[in-house]
């Protein structure tokens, strides 16, 4: 995917560029708000990564300007240690995701993938079922089945599975699950999510040869086969 990075810190910027390059992504790097805004308006890109504090136009103003101009490219805001409330403010101004520096590259990559795909699948939001391999989830009846066998599932497990199935083949981090499935942004002291995942795994994978829900070491979880770059 093509990523536009607007970041004034040389070390962080270079690091992200290198990492994205290693991960096989194409990255354009701009170092201030004004040229970043101009480039974002004139170039097609899949995801924007914007530092909050920028020389010239600051990150949040930049996003607001883009949104006002009708440009809906997903934006991930990077910020130095978030003051309380910063995150909410950023999301309210039109950012799609928010990540506090310094961050693990896995986390950034996972979030970029998700943003990218969400934008790609926006047109098909009218779908009524989700399918990953032989696992099916009916969004209307809230029924889950695998290879035709119905699976009894509890409400929170349903939300968890729905989120995973909306991002098939993508790495989903624990922080992302807490934010989107539970709706809270916080750091659990223990991997409390793991227990939920293993319960879900019991239900969807136990009686089947092929495990769909896998743990990605050090990063998070993935449902289904690892996917190649989504079609542009």
């Amino acid at each position: 995917m093509h990523i536009l990075l607007i970041e004034d810190d040389a070390a962080v910027g270079q690091f992200i560029v290198d990492e994205l390059d290693t991960a096989g992504h194409n990255c354009t790097w701009l170092r201030d708000g004004d040229s970043g805004l101009a480039t974002a308006r004139s170039t097609e890109c899949d995801v924007l990564v914007v530092d909050r504090m920028l020389p010239g136009t600051d990150g949040l103003t930049l996003i607001a300007t883009l949104r006002n101009a009708g440009i809906e490219t997903p934006v991930l805001v990077l910020s130095a240690l978030g003051e309380v409330g910063d995150r909410v403010e950023g999301l309210q101004l039109g950012a799609d995701d928010y990540l506090t520096k310094p961050f693990a590259m896995d986390e950034l990559l996972a979030r970029l993938e998700v943003l990218h795909r969400r934008a790609g699948s926006a047109q098909t939001s009218a779908q009524t079922t989700l399918q990953v391999g032989d696992l099916e989830l009916n969004l209307l009846t809230r029924e889950v089945s695998r290879a035709g066998t119905p699976i009894a599932i509890q409400p929170r497990e349903y939300k968890l599975l729905e989120y995973l199935m909306r991002h098939p083949g993508q790495v989903v981090t624990r922080a992302m699950l807490l934010e989107h499935v539970w709706g809270y942004h916080f750091d659990p002291q223990t991997n409390v999510i793991d227990v939920h995942i293993s319960r879900l795994r019991q239900k969807i994978d136990r009686d089947f040869d092929l495990a769909l829900l896998t743990t990605v070491r050090g990063a998070g979880y993935r449902l289904g086969e690892e996917q190649a770059e989504a079609p542009q």
């Binding site: 690091f15 310094p102 929170r156 539970w182 916080f186 659990p188 002291q189 223990t190 227990v195």
Partner: protein, 457 residues
Amino acid sequence: MKALEVLSSLTFRYIAKYVTVLSATVFVLLAGLYAYISYSFFSDLSDTILEELETLQVVFSGQGIDGVGQYVEDQLAAPSSGRFYYLVTDAEGEVVAGNLGALPRYEQFTGGWLGFQLALLEWGETVDVDFLARPAALGDGFDAVVARNYADITEQATLVFRTLFRAMLATVVLGMIGGFVSAASTLDRVERLNQELSGIIRGGPGKRIDVARQKGYVRQLAEIMNKLLGQTETLMQGVKTVSDNIAHDLRTPLTRMRNQLVQLRGRVPDAEADALEGIIAECDDVLATFNALLRISSLESGGQFSGGGAVELQPLLEDVVELYEPLASERGIDLTFCAEALPSISGDRDLLFQLFSNLVDNALKYTPADGRADINLAVGEPGFLQVSLSDSGPGIPAEERANVLRRFYRLEQSRGAQPGHGLGLSLVQAIVHYHRGHLALLDNEPGLTVQVSLPLA
């Protein structure tokens, strides 16, 4: 304030010593004064006797023995007299004139003075009265003795002495009372200072002694203490800043290191893969510690919550319970939640979720299997909602309860036995204070009860 406290105070002891020395001095002075007064009275007494003898001698040399007899009779008859007693004898020792029948048994003093006692009739009864007397030869074998009693003189001296003694007694008593009062007032000031200082110890390093409430030298002391508190605060701030800076500055290189380690995945031999994951996990652990530390600092230094976000605690706590329920049942702990229908509070929902998830996390971590952890949401003191979490774990000894809220502090028994950084409760406290609430750790007998009071919106 107890009287005993006043009596044992330094000020009172100082004043008591001062009064004692003063009394001793006054006593010596009094003794000297008494001696002087007595001496001068007696010298007056002896002078008058000598004068009287001289008069007798003059009368004798002028008018002879008859003149002396007449003079003595006149003197004794005069109404103002009675001061002198006379005895005039001839060469044979026969009494010629005077009112002393014979010389009583006397004591011989130096300088030709005699002393004796004479029983006198006074107010209807006889009283032994001291006399001073002096004999002198008149000539032609006639001798005269003039005596004078000095009871009035000793009486006067005694009167003076008594007056002085009473003055001294008054000095001592008044001095002691003054000492007591001034010691009490000093103690009172010190007590107020004590109270202020205890308040500062409870209230945190930002507080200062109210100098305007103090007076005199206590005010100076208060000013110095305030300066000292200021320096302490600066030092504490410095230590915090340094540790925050370390955490902040180390986060970036540590993250970079972690990311480089992640890139090694798949490139190291399978045998080393586990070791690599172990190192990555360690990095995550250190990063989590740094993040928690910086989070606490940012909460503590960022003032208090001022936004208007309304949070309903009941659904939030239900979410916490729902999140932790699988973990609890996996560990064999009964996690329950009980709530009244209550109004919402003003707060940051992510932080509040963090707060209660930390508490539940702790309860699940320390409560043994088959135990229980109960969350209860109710109305607390006026204007507050109260969330209490009671577990059946080992609890925290009363003397350790303040300590466990300190950063990096961990109980001896949980060190090594349980994973953790010793920051969980510090973060809880920081979030509670950020919301203008307060936190109490209580004994659940057995187990721990954590009480979080949050102000209503």
